[in-house]
Symmetry: C2
Subunit: 426 residues, 2 copies
């Protein structure tokens, strides 16, 4: 029998509703896993076992109707919690205790989820690496910035975690840790109570061990009745989109994708190469200017009052980029991103989904980097939904994600097609 | 000689730089005005005279180069301050003290501004009226939701104030109080550290006693070198846009606008009637659905934990609207708004600016309402910049604003043309 902490969220909900187990038992199983593994993995900024057990017991006394009833979850520590510290990955906010839960936390709890604690984030969800290790190989990075979220889900400490994504901060760590990472259509899941990095790009990011779970969690966060992922879809029309960044990929990763495209075609999908219009090649640079400009204004208080507590990585990276970017250049970059957003509908029209990469390969060995952030930028910038599925194994036996990109506002279709693709590849 | 508190921000900066006065003297003059008038006007949620004087003295010891050096300002109490309470107009947040300044506060202070305190806001920047009175007639509402911001600037208590706008929350109170209210191109001025109402529409709103001051403040908040408003522009091509909401206007207000259009034409402007495409008529309803959907998710924590402390106005208004709006209807409404955003460029192409109304007339007598919120919704929803200028007097001698709407990303042009229009009408 599968240990309770290894169940997916959907399985946990079914087990609780049927009376086969209790919220308390599931929560204890997850907390036991945390206790056994945290010294190695270091996924947690804060855990409160007593409170989690008390919350789980309260769930057991409820009508058990919540969409996430009894599901242990964590949230990245850039997400406010009224009853737990929230430090944004920065010593500037040591011991900070917000007044209110972020809306995504309140909605998760309203749906019956049990918050175990706060997942480690890189500093302000940026690129300065945090201490978390990849649970599949402790010598490797889990990726970032949602480092602890991906590690905790991958290591069966929680079934669900909320991260965030400004560049590739959810989907890259999900890929490195062998789980699913979802970046929703921009704007759907609100970011109230989350430390903004660059609002033109920030979204929540959901991490789970199945697409079914991601769909369930999305509906809970929209505060609507859950709709299961459609089964038995037709084989999709897939645009295989290498992008101009393909040379960044390791050759072994390129080979995985080429082989996958062929395998999907053999399985009945219509797979066609897609070359984006040249204008899209400018998006990574535009993203750098836009996110830098916004970040360097958004963090005016921290820059003015706590400069010495900001990492040199961040000072010399996004802040320097942003303070050096004039407003006219910012507007030009924003124009480019908007033009591409306006064009992507027509570009994707012949396809159901796109297949591309969101990492150069397996998680790098060591902790000096969270990996190459560039590959997800095009998709993040044009507001389409996307999901990283753990489709491949690299040369070292570590997972490599395939990035399935959907159409804007068609997140449910994305889930169904990504499920089809995942089943053919995994 | 003009009293120091009556100077515009631009005049204050010049007076400080030239050594004709000090930051301290200006701050004391403003604080004296607050002391003399606050009992009647009730514009302030919190004032800290000692701290303001200490800040002003520190500014006097500085190099005095800041763009806003020595300018007393206030911010709406939905804007976080690390050294002052921030209560969002709600008893739920009584005594709340945020950890950090909102980015707009930090940038204002970085530029040398002196924060006197927090301006009264309606509950969560919504429509439930606050206690503030119109300083021009204490029996009338100042409008809302940026009630205290407009009243404080109009009453010469501060030169500048930051409000916010989700519907018409900056421009309507500015019009009712006879000052200038500016709603920037959506996205330019970041809302970090501001209690989000509906992120798809929320922007800062700047209130001042001259267009020059608004341009100055905008540049300070963008953290760029100030660029003066262009002088001597050609008479603009004006689209006179009554919209389908024109019947909401009082007949006397309609007459003011008709006469103004004729006067501007006589002054050399090319004034042409503009009828928006019929699709735009759906925007007010779309705004209601989008803002309601988002608001009711954004406030999940308050709704779950403090329902009894939320006004019935808000419970039965935006929250009820939002909880009753399904996700599909939300997406349809968002689609409509996006289609109109995509079309407005072509619609406005023959014009430099549009002339329209942002209130039905003068500020209503009494305090049961902050006025009709509908008129600014079209412009707020399509992300164009706009400025309310105190161009008219109504039948009771109270001010009525003319709403000048600019092109997206062309805020500087808007300032220059609005200045031209204001000088011809005022």
């Amino acid at each position: 029998m599968t240990a309770l902490n290894e169940l997916t969220a959907t399985e946990m909900v079914a087990a609780v509703r049927s009376g086969r187990t209790t919220c308390e038992a599931i929560t204890r199983a997850c907390l036991d896993r945390v206790a056994a593994r945290e010294r190695d993995v270091q996924a947690w900024q804060y855990v409160n076992p007593d409170q989690a057990i008390a919350d789980a017991k309260a769930r057991d006394r409820s009508d058990r109707k919540g969409a996430l009833i009894g599901v242990p979850f964590s949230v990245k520590d850039i997400i406010d919690t009224a009853d737990m510290p929230t430090e944004y990955g920065s010593p500037i906010y040591a011991g900070h205790r917000p007044r209110a839960d972020a809306s995504c936390v309140a909605l998760s709890r309203k749906a019956g989820g049990v918050l175990l604690g706060k997942s480690v984030t890189t500093e302000f969800a940026n690129v300065h690496p945090a201490r978390t290790r990849n649970p599949l190989d402790l010598t490797r990075t889990p990726g970032g910035s949602s480092s602890g979220s991906a590690a905790a889900v991958a290591d069966r400490m929680v079934a669900l975690s909320i991260g965030s994504q400004t560049s590739g901060s959810t989907v890259r760590p999900a890929g490195f840790c062998g789980v699913f990472g979802y970046r929703p259509t921009y704007g759907d899941l609100r970011c109230v109570g989350i430390k903004e990095a660059a609002g033109s790009f920030d979204t929540l990011g959901l991490i789970a061990r199945s697409i079914e779970d991601i769909a369930l969690y999305r509906d809970a966060l929209l505060d609507i009745e859950p709709v299961p992922v459609a089964k038995g879809v037709q084989p999709p029309r897939i645009g295989f989109c290498r992008t101009h960044l393909w040379p960044l990929l390791e050759p072994s990763t390129q080979a995985l994708f080429e082989e996958a495209a062929a395998r999907l075609a053999r399985a009945g999908a219509k797979v066609t190469d897609l070359t984006l219009p040249p204008e899209f090649d400018g998006i990574p640079e535009a993203h750098k200017l836009i996110s830098g400009f916004e970040f360097s204004r958004n963090f005016a208080w921290e820059i003015e009052h706590h400069w010495e507590k900001i990492s040199t990585t961040l000072r010399n990276g996004r802040i320097k980029d942003g303070l050096g970017c004039g407003f006219e250049r910012y507007l030009e970059a924003r124009d480019l991103a908007e033009r591409c957003r306006a064009r992507i509908g027509a570009v994707m029209e012949p396809f159901d989904v796109l297949l591309t990469a969101c990492s150069t390969g397996e998680a790098p060995v060591g902790f000096n980097t969270t990996g190459v952030t560039t590959l997800a930028l095009i998709w993040t910038s044009i507001y389409v939904p996307a999901i990283s599925v753990p489709a491949f194994k690299g040369p070292a036996g570590m997972p490599v994600g395939a990035y399935i990109v959907g159409k804007r506002n068609r997140d449910r279709d994305l889930f169904a097609f990504a499920e089809w693709i995942y089943r053919k590849l995994a």
